[in-house]
Assembly symmetry: C2
Homo-oligomer: 475 residues x 2
């Protein structure tokens, strides 16, 4: 991120204000005192205080100093849990997904539609450097195909890190893939035939719904709680009623709603599925991006008999351009490995060697610490902006990790129309229509808050709020 000193200081102070270290009306230390305390220059503190003033955290009182301002209170509610009765149906998510994807790939305007990580962390330069070094020093051509399972050193690093998520696994039981989407596609292909029913949480990441549609499957949308995720009660009822073939979940910081299933519910989920002998595909791609005190356990940590296929990647923690993911397919190891071979024979070895190197060093853990703190603050800033600029009746998720926030607006707002209006004006958001096959979220949208806040991005949020306001008034 090459984050400037002043920006870092401003963020730290905003954080302290948010946490009540400084309260409304408190005087901040003088510029001189702060410079001495933080061992930075006076101009750095001046700039940091200026940023906080611009953002409405503090105000300057002439000849006195800087004081904490009265802020907009967080007056917004969280999204509601859908209460529909699930029914399996062929997925029907539209060409809209491809449209949104192409719009995002065009990289014009302010993009908040994709669930991609911040693009300004120092790890990106470090990874690029490691690529250049290894491309120069290692022989990665003229060695035939990689094995279907992938490069051993990389799998070894993944196995080591899995311990943090409560998963104890041998590198031999891991298969590398071209990202997490690819891992999920391989698993779903192995576990289903066209016409089969797949249980997903609702709202659900559109990439999975598209996959279900494309593979000729039927999706059964199980309601999810904004805080605790997939409703086990609803799942239980659905299992009684329908011949579900496999369940999919993003149990840790679900996409789009940011929910985190508590450990005991994760354990319970595996037990329930065990009673029906149903496998679970777990997407754990956000697990390392927790805002809390510790890395939540994966569902797979509670899986004694290999029915959980854990899929993940480096796309959310480092960069989606790496196209490097993995799957721990449990009892389905042979089938998934074979499917990978059929699909593309093997992966290139160079990116696996590079990332084995990066993961083996301290830089990745340092990066994760920085990224988590940064995302937490950036969400806090989004929440402030939304409180300030969005109309009454807006609901917004309180993600406990990850990169995205979920908005629920009054029902009369059509967010697909909002998407098109925003896109025309150079702002990209992900319309709610993408996240359901039963049309439940046409009044919702998803926003990426992971990128650094710039005046341009802040303006984009203000504009979205303004458009929503206008829609409400015109209707």
């Amino acid at each position: 991120m090459e984050m400037n000193l002043y920006a870092r200081l401003a963020d730290q102070l905003a954080d302290q204000i948010r946490e009540g270290v400084f309260r409304v009306g408190d005087k901040l230390p003088s510029v001189r005192q702060m410079a001495k305390k933080q061992q930075v220059s006076i101009s750095t503190v001046n700039t940091a205080y200026g940023v906080l003033e611009d953002r409405g955290w503090i105000e300057a009182r002439p000849k006195s100093g800087y004081y904490v301002r009265k802020r907009n209170e967080d007056r917004l509610a969280t999204p509601t849990q859908t209460r529909h009765t699930p029914k399996p149906r062929p997925a029907n998510t539209s060409q809209l997904v491809m449209e949104v994807q192409r719009d995002a790939a065009a990289r014009k305007g302010v993009s908040m539609s994709a669930a991609i990580p911040a693009l300004d962390f120092p790890i990106l330069k470090q990874v690029q450097r490691t690529f250049a070094q290894m491309a120069r020093s290692k022989t990665f051509l003229g060695i035939g195909y990689d094995s279907p399972e992938g490069v051993r050193e990389f799998r070894h690093q993944i196995a080591r890190r899995a311990v943090d998520a409560g998963v104890f696994i041998s590198p031999e039981c891991i298969i590398t893939t071209a990202g997490c989407q690819n891992a999920m596609a391989l698993c779903l292909r192995v576990l289903t035939q066209p016409g089969d029913i797949v249980a997903v949480e609702s709202p659900c990441y559109y990439g999975l719904l598209q996959m279900i549609e494309t593979f000729g499957l039927k999706a059964l949308e199980i309601p999810a709680h904004p805080q605790t995720g997939l409703s086990l009660e609803a799942l239980q009822l659905a299992l009684e009623k329908w011949p579900i073939k496999v369940a999919l979940t993003v149990a840790t910081f679900s996409n789009p709603i940011g929910s985190l299933m508590p450990d005991e519910r994760k354990a319970e989920l595996v037990k329930i599925l065990g009673r029906y002998d149903i496998p679970l595909i777990e997407d754990d791609v956000y697990g390392d991006l927790y805002f809390g005190d510790h890395r939540p356990k994966a569902v797979k940590a509670f899986d004694p008999d290999g029915r959980v296929l854990l899929c993940s990647s480096l796309s959310k923690t480092i960069d989606p351009q790496l196209r490097l993911g993995w799957v721990m397919p449990g009892r389905y190891f042979e089938a998934v490995s074979h499917r990978k071979f059929i699909n593309s024979i093997a992966l290139p070895t160079l990116p696996q060697m590079v990332m084995a190197e990066v993961l083996s060093q301290g830089m990745y853990d340092r990066h994760l610490r920085q990224a988590r703190e940064c995302y937490r603050q950036r969400f806090a800033r989004l929440l402030d902006l939304v409180n300030e600029h969005f109309p009454e009746g807006t609901r917004i998720s309180r993600p406990q990790g990850g990169l995205v926030a979920w908005f629920e607006l009054p029902r009369k707002i059509d967010t697909t129309q909002l998407y098109h209006r925003a896109h025309a004006e150079g702002v990209m958001l992900a319309p709610g229509e993408l996240f359901s096959i039963s049309g439940q979220y046409r009044h919702c949208f998803r926003l990426n808050y992971a990128q650094g806040w710039s005046p341009e991005r802040e303006l984009a949020v203000r504009k979205i709020g303004q458009w929503v306001r206008e829609e409400l008034q015109s209707s």
Copy 2:
């Protein structure tokens, strides 16, 4: 390849002998004359003559000079065309493919099982260098996802080169893939449902048979002529009889048999399929590796209405580690692009940028000229060795391009057993069982001749011949 001067000279002379420029009994120019004529050192000529002597091309007569020896004549017939009546069946190629793949990836012993290019051409170092340079100088992380269709500059290069194969196409009509296998898998997925019948040529590359099996399809094996490929007459009969959904062909240097379908038959093939409105997936991965005077046209060159989906890659012309291929899906563009998105969202951009750079420069064409000449000579050497060391009744293909030769042995030889024996002794070949779902080629095998001949590789061929001889005698 950093091919040494002496080796090049030896190969050129062997070639001239083969072509009758020097005949049996002819005296070669003296070492001194040759050195002057070729503008090389005397020791270079001495070494080259020594190599030719070792390989049995010439003999030294004391105080006289070097004379062309009587060679083993090419006494071996070409493989027979199968004459079975095709019948669709679920593919059933066994775990043997995965076993062969893992054995090859282990990179022990003399590997002649995979259809991979030579590992010793200078282009590999040039590509590695370009990778290192671009990883250092270009920003390839922090740019979000690539578009589903791929990097424009790379597609532009592919479009330019397609002209040589008679295909005039816009870059906008090309989609990049993770190798040719990946391109074929995407196409087959788009065009079929489980249970559908797919027409393939027989013998058929095992990767395609595995794909057909894994996707729950039925394969209809159409006999192929060792010189002219897929029998159009047999295809016509099959189309009358069975509801074929799609046809697959490697029309230019088929794998494993090396046949080349003549232009007029390629045109006829498209016409026949047009009458039944059936799409054709064309694997053109060997097309640039022709031994003749010019680049054969692709079947797609004769396709007026977009029913041919041409798939190819850089895996056979440069290196399979690149995992970089493409598809020209004709009228199925949108469906294939969407399928790629579902499967893995997008490819990484760096390898596409690197290969756009490599393909835009002269080095790739220079490499292809060198590779074609080299493979032609290496096959000639294989043919010599086989004539010398294999028993009566051995048949061997005369590939007109590509990397592999196909052996047909007397029917009592079981080449799966031969595979296991050879593997135990550190020699890898591809058993015929892999290339058919109806067990037609248990007495055949495929051998890669693309790697440079070393005493170790020559010994491996001699050993295989010896094992075959022993089997014949013992049975």
